[in-house]
């Protein structure tokens, strides 16, 4: 059950997108998200959808993965769509008691749904094609200039790496502890909300205890290997931009430009 979580999952591959510099992928994703929010009409959004689809095609990641990553936020999507339909003034489709759905609302709802889906799909493509280690590495390098302002960039990146590294471990551990308590007759599936919350105690306490133990062991292991922060630390894998990276960046900048152009030509939908 816990094993079905796919957020942040990495699928190793050899596609052009996999091989892009992680820093560039991070920048591209940011541009993509900006473009999604700048777009205020169907034309601009269609451009975004097209480039998103192209990205998935090149990466070789199946679109069914998008469906999977959308599943957990389905309630938010539906909620947004319904709210937009009801609370936007305009020509009514139907009226029921004090609820009034409008054509303008429907249009906006569709726009919003496309935007959220693209947002999730786009950022998922980043994590599907980039290993967590490469990603945190990229974050550290991109925010490097902030070190001048005393931002603990290396420490933050290290924290991210450790957190990502331990998610699967902790999921496995939770599964194990749940099984062990169920074997002792713990009942987690029935009763009132309070009963269920109380049933979590036998799982959370051992989980906390073992997390602290792991943290302690990890700190010791890092010290044994002479870890002393980012100062003077060299890297085995040097990141280097290649021609492909700049082509990819150019494509994304073009997308943003196109979206802005569409905004100027086509009427806004707000």
């Amino acid at each position: 059950m816990l094993k079905d979580i796919t957020i942040g999952q990495y699928f190793p591959g050899e596609s052009a997108i996999h091989r892009l510099d992680p820093r560039m992928k991070l920048i591209m994703t940011t541009i993509y998200i900006v473009a999604l929010f700048v777009a205020n009409n169907v034309g601009g959004l269609l451009v975004c959808v097209a480039i998103g689809l192209a990205g998935y095609l090149i990466s070789g990641i199946s679109l069914s993965m998008v469906k999977k990553s959308l599943k957990p936020i389905m309630p938010i999507i539906i909620f947004t769509a319904v709210l937009n339909m009801i609370f936007v003034d305009g020509k009514p489709i139907f009226e029921f008691w004090i609820i009034k759905a409008t054509y303008e609302g429907l249009q906006l709802a569709v726009l919003m749904v496309i935007r959220i889906v693209c947002l999730i799909a786009g950022s998922s493509l980043l994590t599907y094609t980039t290993s967590p280690i490469a990603l945190t590495d990229a974050v550290e390098r991109l925010f490097d200039p902030l070190k001048k302002f005393n931002m603990p960039v290396h420490e933050l990146a290290m924290m991210m790496t450790i957190a990502l590294r331990f998610i699967p471990t902790l999921i496995e551990e939770t599964d194990k502890i749940m099984s062990a308590q169920k074997a002792r007759g713990a009942d987690m599936e029935s009763g009132t909300i309070i009963d269920r919350a109380r049933a979590l105690i036998p799982i959370l306490i051992p989980l906390f205890v073992s997390s602290f133990r792991r943290a302690d062991e990890l700190a010791l292991a890092m010290e044994c290997r002479c870890y002393h922060g980012g100062e003077g630390r060299t890297r085995m894998k040097q990141l280097k931009y290649t021609g492909n990276d700049f082509v990819a960046l150019a494509v994304l900048v073009m997308v943003l430009a196109l979206v802005i152009a569409m905004n100027l030509i086509l009427p806004s939908m707000y």
Binding site: I177, A180, A183, R184, G185, D187, I201, P202, V209
Partner: protein, 289 residues
């Protein structure tokens, strides 16, 4: 009376995905009530998946499990009854402790069973005695105890439910020789006193040979063999071929026999070896005289 029975038990992980893996493939077996069964197999052979089916933590993909003649999944709502009938001690069970005191932690299982307060405290005391926990430990926090003591508390937590079938997954992993010996003798004692059925998963062939009457061998998701210690360890070559082994002392006697000594080849424990060697020496001495 049959304590545990499985019928074509099969479990597939992540079916219909690229990660599909058959973990338990067509297990059909019957374990008599009161038997002490050793379960051996590689890491990842499917033995852990198999034992988790016996108390309903995992649901078979197909096939059936019967405990004392009752079909486990006939009514999924009653699955907890089976969890109380079949006690399962996981690997490194000390990581499941959570209560403020040792006493309360051991009482967790019996409390879930809905027993009376008197019955619970009675069971907690008996279980603690079985695993050799001193009365003054009972009011301590389980987190203050040593690793070996924590392990005992965790085992007592399962024993307190007084399961008819007790399954232990490598109960002595990571303990020192003295701790191992104590835990094994306590399990043996529990087995004798309560005449419950015991399944012991272990990587130590010596321990299996010494404590178990029967051995169940799982290899590559399949039930390779299920028979008495004699029958199973007689298949030395097959066991070695799959990367398992037989007790060291058995190897010595197989080799002795190969070199022409007149020894029995069903020697599995040091005690048996001692008797056999004395017999041989006595005989040899007699010949010389």
């Amino acid at each position: 009376m049959i304590a545990v029975k499985t019928e074509k038990l099969r479990h597939v992980y992540s079916p219909q995905t690229p990660f599909e893996k058959v973990a338990v493939d067509d297990f059909s077996l019957e374990i008599e009530e009161g038997e002490f069964v050793g379960v051996i197999g590689h890491t990842g052979s499917g033995k852990s998946t198999f034992i988790q089916h016996l108390n309903g933590l995992m649901k078979p993909t197909s096939g059936k499990v019967f405990i004392h003649g009752r079909d486990m999944w006939a009514d999924p709502k009653k699955i907890r009854e089976f969890r109380f009938m079949v006690g399962l001690v996981f690997q490194y069970p000390e990581y499941q402790l959570f209560e403020e005191t040792v006493e309360k932690d051991i009482a967790f299982g019996p409390t879930n069973m809905g027993l009376s307060a008197a019955e619970i405290s009675d069971r907690v005391r008996t279980a603690a005695e079985f695993v050799g926990l001193a009365p003054e430990v009972m009011q301590k926090s389980p987190f203050e105890l040593s690793g070996g003591q924590k392990r005992r508390v965790a085992i007592a937590g399962v024993l307190a439910m007084q399961p008819k079938v007790l399954i232990l997954d490598e109960p002595t992993a990571g303990l020192d020789p003295k701790g191992r010996e104590q835990i094994f003798s306590q399990i043996s004692e529990y087995h004798k006193k309560t005449s419950s059925t015991v399944l012991l998963v272990s990587h130590s062939m010596e321990d299996v040979a010494r404590h178990a009457k029967k051995v169940l061998v799982v290899n590559d998701s399949k039930l390779f063999a299920f028979g008495t210690v004699n029958e199973v360890f007689a298949r030395t070559e097959e066991l070695t071929a799959m990367g398992l082994s037989v007790p060291q002392v058995t190897k010595i006697f197989t080799e002795l026999k190969r070199r022409g000594f007149d020894v029995a080849d069903n020697i599995f424990t040091v005690e048996q070896a001692k008797t056999e060697l004395l017999r041989l020496l006595g005989k040899a001495g007699g010949n010389n005289a």
